[in-house]
Amino acid sequence: MKIVVTVKLVPDTSADKRIDPATKRLVRGGVETVLNPFDEYAIEAALQLKEKLGEGTTVTIFTMAPETGKEVVRKALAMGADDAVMLSDAGLAGSDIWGTSYAMAAALKKIGFDLVITGTQSTDAITGDVPGMLAEYLGVPGLTYLRKLEVDGDKVRGQRETETGFQTVSAATPALVSVTKSINEPRYPSLKGIMGAKKKTIVMMTLAELGLTKAVGSDGAKTELTDLATPPVRGKGQVVTAADGTEGARIIVDFLKEKKLL
């Protein structure tokens, strides 16, 4: 079984991110690029499947990122993936969710797969819309939000989280699944894994190889950033003293109603 895990490179989630008020862009200086933490669960899920299925199962990491992201991709390889493919092309700059999914799907078709595993969302954009769009462009079933995943022959089955419980869902491969944080505890790369990752192949791919018929990047994007505003800094709110539980509860309920949270 050929498993491809899609990962995104994102600004370090623990860094104190801020927007430069003059340029209205994210201040990236001093902020490290890391693997999207949600994608580590996807990598772990793939590695566990490989361990279970044994011989003949491979795990390929795929990312759409500038070549400077190579070292971050090596971390995924150090966890135990076999090889990686990076779609890296200046023409992708400014791609929106649509263009990203469309280009990624073309690359994944070129790589070939039985199963694509993704995280549920990225920590920077947080849209959670790429897995669905990707599955549609790939023309395969998309089993999303899985907290359990098993493969039996050409069938993939999992527990899909819902707001109120779960659904057991299944489909035939080739398929795409997205996995949640509940599915596993991602492993740390071992020293041996880190050393071994240096020798693993990272194939660079460009847009020209994909033969896309629609424009991607900022020209082809179907959404365009027209304004970027910095919300007011979270300031001091109201501080109210409650004489007893009933009064405290009333203050909070009134506040929640005013905020339309209740």
């Binding site: 079933p141 779960f166 505003a229 001091k236 003293t241 007893d244 539980g245 405290g248 909070i252």
Partner: protein, 324 residues
């Protein structure tokens, strides 16, 4: 774009509130665009949901009532929306920013080669152009994104932001022709877990406890009750986790989870920087603390100074009666 289509997510004929918000917003936007507002309802109980939708201002309610479709994930709804969208012509499609809404919306966007705007908190019409306002980077910045290069646009709307306004519209019921397709993703079973535990990172409401709670019990009782009543999850500060009162999976902060719920209620948490970085992007922060001089006073939207053990159970009761 002239017509606006709202995807109605429902459970056995009971629409989710966000879908009624979408239906109301659809009419408002359609009026500005000079088109019609549509609602699309698919699955078992769709006709019953359509009756409820008649009380909202949409022009047409497209219905595909077939319980057999509940045996398949996502695709039947995408097909139904696609057929309504193609019949309507250039249109804006509103889906709820929920797990199912995102799945249906994103697949539909790819099907229609449409732009997608995620987690919208406002939708602005300018002539025939539509732009969406969404908070990004955990609320660090607010973006406005306009649709372009596409006849269709899909917007996932954030729940609880738009108002659901009961006001009957034309409400013409239109049957959606079954696609006749066989679907790929089989739903083998659907389980509602009474004790379903929502993770803090996915919950829209998080009720967190800290050192001030003094032990493990309140996490299982008063905090859990309030979280359940608000449909949320229980979180904790590092102090509470380190003390062994609750497991690490619940920890919010630098060495735990970084979350952006709609509402964060911090109970007995002082709000030191290590905790703050994990939750400051919550839309609204309410704190309950016996000390008014704690750091959280500087960034909570509301700090109630008082006895958490008295306030929290009363709050749970008050929320219950407010919802009733």
């Amino acid at each position: 774009m002239h017509d606006v289509i709202a995807f109605i997510e429902h459970t056995a004929g009971q629409p989710r509130r966000v879908s009624l918000e979408a239906a109301t917003k659809a009419k408002e936007l359609a009026s500005k665009l000079g088109g019609k507002a549509h609602a699309v309802i698919v699955g078992g109980g769709a006709s019953a949901a359509a009756e409820i939708l008649k009380g909202y201002p949409v022009d047409q309610i497209h219905v595909l009532d077939d319980a057999a479709l509940d045996g398949f994930l996502i695709d039947p709804s995408v097909d139904a929306l696609e057929s309504v969208a193609k019949a309507a012509g250039p249109a804006l499609v509103l889906v709820p920013n929920t797990m199912t809404g995102r799945d249906v919306g994103s697949r539909l966007a790819a099907r229609l080669d449409a732009g997608m705007n995620a987690d919208a908190t406002d939708i602005v019409v300018n002539g025939t152009n539509v732009a969406c306002v969404s908070p990004k980077l955990g609320g660090l910045t607010i973006t406005t994104c306009a649709f372009k290069n596409s006849e269709y646009g899909v917007v996932a709307i954030r729940p609880n932001v738009f108002t659901a306004q009961a006001q009957a519209g034309a409400g013409e019921i239109v049957a959606i022709a079954p696609s006749g397709k066989s679907y790929a993703i089989v739903v083998e079973e659907t389980v509602n877990e009474a004790a379903a535990e929502l993770g803090v990172e996915e919950a829209s409401v998080v009720v967190s406890g800290g050192r001030g709670l003094g032990g493990p019990e309140p996490f299982k009782t008063i905090l859990k009750d309030l979280a359940d009543e608000l449909g949320g999850a229980v979180g904790a500060s590092r102090a509470a986790v380190d003390a062994g009162w609750i497991s690490h999976g619940h920890q919010v902060g630098q060495t735990g989870k970084t979350i952006s719920p709609n509402l964060y209620i911090a109970v007995g948490i002082s709000g030191a920087i290590q905790h703050k970085v994990g939750m400051r992007t919550a839309s609204t922060i309410v704190a309950i603390n016996k000390d008014g001089g704690v750091p959280i006073a500087d960034f909570a939207d509301l700090l109630v100074v008082g006895d958490a053990f008295a306030i929290v159970p009363e709050l749970t009761r008050a929320v219950r009666s407010a919802k009733a």
